[in-house]
């Protein structure tokens, strides 16, 4: 029983550390490449357009991040097909 608990903890540790690393890389992409983007030069409405585009990019990144999380948990814990999907 103790080994079983340790196995679950180790697998979750792998999931968390991977997701943590990916999250830092994702924020790095946002900080280095997405945030400095200037799509619209118009100072009034362009500001909001820029914000919307950047928010969409951040949303796509976060959905990708959650997708990888989903795949990892299913692979490590539900790979036998037990009540998954």
């Amino acid at each position: 029983m103790k080994r079983l608990k340790q196995r679950a903890i180790v697998l979750q540790l792998v999931v968390f550390v991977t997701q943590w690393g990916l999250m830092i890389i994702g924020f790095g992409i946002l900080a280095l490449f997405v945030a400095p983007l200037r799509i619209q030069s118009d100072p009034s409405l362009g500001r909001y357009f820029d914000a919307a585009v950047k928010a969409m990019i951040a949303l796509v990144l976060s959905i990708s991040w959650l997708f990888i999380w989903d795949r990892q948990v299913r692979l490590y814990f539900y790979k036998k097909g037990e009540c998954a999907t």
Partner: protein, 339 residues
């Protein structure tokens, strides 16, 4: 200018008072709520005991009382304390309404969106004094989000309050988990940027959660109810914004994120656990919990931990605490990397 060691020490000493206050208030709610029939059934025990509900109200009351006392004593930033207290108080009201009226699942996320408005309003009235829209990123510096940050505040409060609400299926998981998160973030704040307000609020949340945990730990003698869960989650969200520990807070809440994401990705709608037709776990005749074989049941964190073999409730709770410790350490490293 860095705050003096004396200011930080005073903040921690006052915050420690949260523990006895929360303890006494929880005991009070246990007695009153049991007398009034405000009870819930502990479904993960064979004898199905009736436990006083809504005792988690002790945590928001303690936090608001102590924040007020701290401001009266001349400590911390009054605006930050006001914003924090309004967020926690409004989330507690939403939780209490849900406890009494049993609202549909969609109302909690919608109503908790409104709980973020005090921070937005005070931030607009007093720019740069309540929150800072520059997001600090580990390793890669920071970036300014004047529009998106403002719009994200209500969403952040709604997400943290509801995700905390969702990960309290077993005795003590919410209170113990929040205590671990608060402790990790408190250490991070003390190491990196010991602003007295942030130190005080994280320490207050830690000790208030521990005071409640004394009665809520396995086997529970008090249940938090939505009033406790939503307000504690809102407190974590508000603190992430007010103390500029947004990314570290996300990391510290990894167990909550996993639980909520897998629940929602399976069920595909906001719903209450009580409304689920397919439960994620089942109680065996020997008192252990097992993962259900129902393919329609959500893949919650507890079910994931039980998928290979059944286990006692106390074992699953200790495993969940270990996961919180792991995410807490990662959050601490994140704060150190931000600097």
């Amino acid at each position: 200018m860095l705050p003096s060691g004396w200011e930080v020490t005073t903040a921690i000493l006052l915050a420690i008072v949260s523990f006895p206050v929360s303890l006494v208030l929880t005991r009070f709610f246990m007695k009153i709520n049991a007398e009034r029939g405000i009870v819930g059934i502990d479904v993960h025990k064979l004898n199905k005991p009736k436990i006083p509900e809504m005792c988690g109200a002790s945590i928001p009351i303690t936090l608001i009382l102590l924040s007020t006392a701290y401001v009266i004593m001349g400590g911390g930033n009054g605006l930050v304390m006001l914003a924090f207290s309004l967020v926690v108080g409004s989330a507690a009201v939403v939780g209490a309404l849900d406890d009494r009226l049993k609202m549909r699942g969609i109302y909690k996320p919608l109503l908790t969106l409104l709980c973020g408005i005090p921070i937005v309003a005070l931030g607009l009235l007093y720019p740069s004094q309540v929150y800072n829209p520059t997001l600090q990123v580990p390793i890669f510096g920071s970036f300014h989000l004047p529009v998106i940050y403002l719009l994200s505040i209500p969403v952040a409060i709604s997400v943290t309050s509801n995700t905390t609400n969702m990960l309290d299926p077993l005795n003590g998981t919410m209170a113990g988990g929040v205590a671990i998160i608060s402790a990790a973030l408190l250490i991070g704040v003390l190491i990196t940027d010991p602003a007295p307000s942030s130190v005080f609020l994280y320490a207050s949340l830690l000790f208030a959660a521990l005071g409640f945990f004394y009665f809520n730990r396995y086997p529970s003698r008090a249940f938090a109810g939505n009033v406790g869960q939503l307000s504690v989650g809102a407190a974590l969200g508000a603190l992430a914004i007010l103390s500029r520990s947004e990314i570290a807070s996300i990391v510290a809440m990894f167990p909550n994120i996993q639980n909520s994401f897998f629940f929602l990705s399976k069920i595909k709608r906001f719903t209450e656990h009580r409304s689920l037709t397919a439960k994620p776990t089942k109680l065996l005749d020997d008192g252990r919990l097992a993962s259900t074989s129902d393919p329609n049941a959500p893949l919650t964190l507890v079910r994931t931990l039980l998928v290979s073999r059944p286990a006692k409730e106390s074992e699953i709770v200790s495993t969940i605490f270990t996961l919180y410790l792991i995410s807490g350490v990662l959050a601490l490293i994140t704060m150190i990397l931000i600097g």
